[in-house]
Amino acid sequence: MPALRPRLFRLVHDASTALRRRLTPAGRVLAGAAGVAGALGVDTRQSHAAMLFTLGVALLLAALPFAALFRPRIEAMRRLPAHATAGRPFAYTLELRNHSRRTLRDLSAQEELAARPAGAAEWRARRARGRAGANWLDRAMGYPDWVALTRERQGAQIPAVPVPPLPPGGLARVTVQARPLRRGVLRFAGTRIARPDPLGLVNGLLRTGRPGDLVVLPARYPCAPPPLAGGRRAQPGGVALAGPVGDAQEVMSVRDYRPGDPLRRIHWRSWARTGRPIVKELQDEYFVRQALVLDMATEPGERFEAMVSVAASHLEPLAGPDALVDLFLLGVQATRLTSGRGLGSQEGLLAALASVQAAPAADPSAPRGALAHAAQGLSGAICVLADWDDPRRALVDALRGQGVTVAALVVSDAPDARPGPLAPGVRRVRAGHLAQDLAP
């Protein structure tokens, strides 16, 4: 039975969406009234309610052909921004061009987002985290959970917008207001153009437009600059492609090329002289290098989303004019992404954060070694942690053991959690109160 329910929900949802799309608000009222009147008027001797039923059905049937014959040629093109931010409304322009021979009036445009409907496993997982619904029936059936999940998968709320009259060959630009519901990628499937029939009851529908993607960055909150050490540390072997501003690049010696050596270290004259590739050995490079560590060994849900938001909020304060920022994503493995000093942009790291997924199966102590190895060149690190247990405490201790200044933020979604320090340099913030707990 539980496996059957998501399929049933999908049927109901699809039917209701199709009905909402096809009928105008007035058409919906008329159809509902006709339905009620039909039920009351089953016995035409008891009452005349069936009159409204037959009248409503006749009006809807009269409107249907007009809706079915709506086949204009309209081209839709959207002008999307570079990116959006979860939870923050944004606007973009939708351009509609009429290739028909007649002026088109009373149009409206509705953007469609591609999303696979929520499946049984996701629905069950969501219900295991907490059930939605205002009454016991909703909570028992789980339909609100399924609908909320499907909306989240779609990713944004985009209401229909009215389109001004479009003369033949004419172009109309309409501003579409959208509200992203989550981070990640919004996938636009197309644009649906609707026009009501002359009675205003049934919509004629046309699907046009092209698919498109938009990256929605995680929500970010103002936060205080982290109290990290600003000293420069040696970068053994240098940092490939980083702008070495402020350091003399003195050649200490030359040696044979080894695979992995950057091309710019090749000493061309020695290669010409010896006939084999020779590279320069330079004086050690020193950079301010800060790390942002995101612990992904946790369940997906509100807490993980809050952790991503905390990490994204600290990216900007970390990034100085001459600092490198490493983003460590600690899942099953440790992934390292670097920005600063010409090595990629802050937006790149935010885009990476927009697409990270929780790794509930990961062992939080597993990537400690890889992080400890990379810690040699770090000046400071901000760790965004899901818990303050032994493995995570050991991780912070390992970083500190290598001389890295660490500020750790433990994100909690417990209802009775209190914000504040847990240990020196370790602070708890609440998932539902990030703006308050992160405020400078």
């Binding site: 008891q46 009452s47 309610a49 009248l55 009269a62 205002a134």
Partner: protein, 686 residues
Amino acid sequence: MTGPSAPPLLLGAALLWWGWQGGHPALALGLALLVEAAPRSPWRWHAEPRDFHRLADVTNLLFVAAALVLFAQHGARGVFALAGWLPLVLVPLVLGQRLSLGRRMPLGALFLSLRGRPGAPGAPEDAGVDVGFAYLAVVLVAALVEGGGPWLYPGTAALAAWALWAVRPRRTRALPWALLVLGAAGAGLAGFTGLQAGQSAVEARILAWFEQRLWQRSDPYRAETAIGQLGRLKLSDRILFHVHGHDPAGGPLLLRQASFRSYRHGTWHAPREGFSPVDRDGAADRWRLAPGAAPREVRLGIVLRRGRGLLPLPGDTTTLAGLPAEALVVNPWGAVVARKAPGFASVRVAHGGGASRDAPPGAQDLAVPEPQRELLAGLVAELGLAGRDPAEAEARLRAFFDEGFRYSLRSEAAFGGGTALARFLTRSRAGHCEYFATATVLLLRAAGLPARYATGYSVQEYLPLGAHVVRRRHAHSWALVWTGTRWRDVDLTPAVWVEADAAGAPWWQPLYDAASWVSFGFQRWRWAEREGLDAEDLLWLLPPLLGLLIWRLARRPLVLRRAREAAPAGPEAEGGVFAGAYACLAARLGPRAPGETLRAWWRRVAPGDGSDVPSAAVRELLDLRYRERFAPRGLSPAERERLARLAGEVERRLGRRRGRLRTSPGCSPGDRARRAGPGPRPPASR
């Protein structure tokens, strides 16, 4: 989703139409005036979503209360009565919306599942709906349920067309639209006519089938028994009537509805002789069924569906009192039928004197059907019934049935030949009252004593609420034997039958009984007061509704809307320190467009660098203004002082150049002086 709004006067017209069709024009006129006056009223209800939720909850309670009352009055037809009164029950919702500031009903008020969890991720914003068109549909359905006549369909179609005209797309021209609507209305009428014809055809077939198969107890000329049927009889616990004043010490009271004379293949029949009217006994509601005095009196509280029905009465009833029927008729076999009586009657029944309203016996009352004749003759000889007087014969039969027979509602499949009655008498020796009564009648007849088969009810169950109750499962049958002067009841069914029938009563039986008791009480009150359902019957709903509205209006801060021509809505109309600064800015940069927020206006008109407009101050001023208007706690005293200082600065900066600008009301030293005075907190604006 907001939905279209109903055009002015449409709802009022629909309510008047409903009043005309339903026969309560005064009530409809009052509602129409309320509904149409609400949006024109200067008073606005500053309602939060939760206020609408409460209003909807109270309306739901009223709906449930009205449903209970109307279903108790009309039974299954209560659904039509309820639909007919819905415009009255639901009017608080419409009035609440029309009096509110936003003129929109939050969806959460209408759908429980959309309440709560504000701001939940993915939850759509509840912009609210206009319930005007939905209410129009309710009113139209109510008019159709209550109304009739040749104008019913044209009127409904005209009101629907009015609504459609209001929501038609702008491109639609009047003539094609009118033709389309006329065509659809004609098709709708044709469809309704077709539905009626189709229903008549289907009904005719179904009724023919029912008449053949299912016409049972209400027929005074025919009683089909369950003799020979297999399985357990399922009998309902529904209470049919109350009996007051019965003394249980005298044994169970048998209330007879009819008696029958000939038995064939499990069915008892009575000759189809006509009913004759019963004479009144000195009063319009008093009837004499038989001569003589009666020492006992009981009172029957009985519901008469559609004002007519077979009355269950003791066999020796002499007079009935308290039955204001138009006619009472009786047939020769003792069936008494009331015609055109109230839906509920509390009838005082005098009985116990040995009187009889039945015709004396004839040859048919001694007839024994051929299949049972031999068996019965053997039993009569075995029991020595021949030649005995009725009392002796009854005693011998009682001893016979007491010895080896038991009561059972279950009939098992039998193997071997013989009729079901023969199997009952010779092999199974178990059956329900129809077996015992039929066997008694036929044995008495075989012994030469005239006997008849009677059906009715046995009064046995006393409810602690103060009366005996008779349920459907108390339906009973017994024998009548002719004593030489009258017909006497002979009930030889084992006395355990009542307990056996009651064994399957559900656990919620007491609750059901209490509700049934209340319903009977209500019926008695209702029919004691008046004959028909008037419009005033439900007017009692109006005071609590109006009281609720007044209470809600009194609890919320009311806003006196100024006349439109006196001042436009917006900060310029409000006074206060911000108004002066806004007036100067509007004079300089142009006013806001209708519906434009202050921030949107500022984004549109904000001057570039080099202007003498203090942009930074204006931005901060707008921030403070928004917080003053919309922040739950408003501004602190320091922030309020800052707001006044910034407004003054903007006014000073722009006021100096006023001479070169077009005149704007509110942007002058005199205006500033007027605004400085104390005044109430300004009402809402965008």
